[in-house]
Symmetry: C2
Subunit: 323 residues, 2 copies
Amino acid sequence: MSAAVRRILAITGGVGGAKLALGLARVLEPEQLTFLVNTGDDFEHLGLTICPDIDTLLYTLSGQANPDTGWGRREESWHCLDTLAELGGDTWFKLGDRDLATHLLRTEALRSGASLTDVTAMLARGLGIPQRVLPMSDDRIATVIRTPAGELAFQQYFVRERCAPEVIGFRFEGREQARMPAGLSELLADTELDGIVICPSNPFVSVDPILAVPGLREALTGAAAPVVAVSPIIAGSAVKGPTAKMMTELGVPRDAVAVARHYGTLLDGFVLDNSDASRLADVEALGLQAVATPTLMVTLQDKMNLALATLDFIASISKSAIH
Amino acid sequence: MSAAVRRILAITGGVGGAKLALGLARVLEPEQLTFLVNTGDDFEHLGLTICPDIDTLLYTLSGQANPDTGWGRREESWHCLDTLAELGGDTWFKLGDRDLATHLLRTEALRSGASLTDVTAMLARGLGIPQRVLPMSDDRIATVIRTPAGELAFQQYFVRERCAPEVIGFRFEGREQARMPAGLSELLADTELDGIVICPSNPFVSVDPILAVPGLREALTGAAAPVVAVSPIIAGSAVKGPTAKMMTELGVPRDAVAVARHYGTLLDGFVLDNSDASRLADVEALGLQAVATPTLMVTLQDKMNLALATLDFIASISKSAIH
């Protein structure tokens, strides 16, 4: 356990971020850790409200994640999906039988008037997760992918088109009306909050939607706790997902420094992979503190090690010294 | 095949009625046969619109019915339900993984504005069922069970309370606003319609809800084709379900004749079980034609035999001779 910090807010998307989230959950006491999760990928499918990043996080934290696919539940079966196919229904989004229980409960609770925050807490309890898991907003914000051929809803781009279309930009539909989830402002004002970690998720489609919630970026910047991001890019590649491909398409250098520059003044510190240690000075030139450490997370021990290294880094940062 | 009749409308509820429905489907050409199905049992569960009687009929006709339970699909799995239980969700209604596909497709299509008639036709097509299957109405009518302790929604009574509460009456909520499904009036006016069969379903909670659709009973009575019911009571007992128990609680004699009397002037003919042949005269005393034949349907051949006997009976009835 890390005694160097008291409370931590971890901002995360799906797979990549969830790995560090699990590491943090293993090295901190449950009450020390709150997660703030991207909901820009959320969508309606077969009448069900599906929250891919929340589900990936919940399944990862509860040990239910499918280690082979990176999404969905382990020991999953597909009888409903097979039957949907026989009946002529849509099957491009792979709904497992066990996974369906999550979507059914969530959808029913939302229809009954519960907030996504409450529904997420209920699901987390049901999965035996003691940490607090907050959606980025109870209001609907939908990430829209802009391509030369027009706009695509996120899941259309990500699942149906398998990230093939060229990306020229993003839009976060509904952001103007969205509000931060209940409890987030209080946490950010909490004098025991010692750090805010941006997990190694895709900056454009996992973290930026969170930062697009009105007032949220400013609230993070205004918090006394330092904001530290962990690079999702290692030696010019993303471990998983379209981050590196998007950077190329957007004309951004495909490296960790570009990620640090993308977050800009939001950050106080940046965690690079050891293989990118030669770029430490480039990150520091942006006015950030920087550290290099192994960031590739394959084993649980990798995840815990990166969590501990990130927490040590946070403890070493004196925000007042920077600002 | 029966050459004696041209077109037949079969009115049915769930299990008992579906057995004769299958027999009729096997002895008639698909275009000769239309089903009109009870939807008074329909309900919302976990946000899904579930139509138990339509599903039992569709699964029975497509060979997908579970022969052991009398409801749901064969070769069913329960991974979603097990997971719902783990998450603390409602599990009193047993949703199988394959069965869920039906409810998901139906619910989504209804939400998109499709009528229950269209949705049912879509599901029937998906299951390879060539006959026309009509819900009793596209509008919602909910069978409510009146008990000394108050009213119970049908599924509460039937599934949750396992038919234990004493029944003192019924109410068909929403019936005032309901209309007959599109196409039914045309079928009833069709000069090729040679008979209307009321399958051996529960008269109170499977057939009466259908007859409660405004204008439907009158339309049946007004049709040129004879209306014939097959007794769901054999030697004072119901083969399955609470029919006999309800008759006792309602103070009605627990026999086939009481069923004929219950339908009253709606009927032109009544089919008794051979074991009740001694009551033929009592049925005829009600002004009905009557016939006794084996009505217990265990094998497929039993179902086809009863279908053929019923069609022969219909062919023998000259409605004009009675009225």
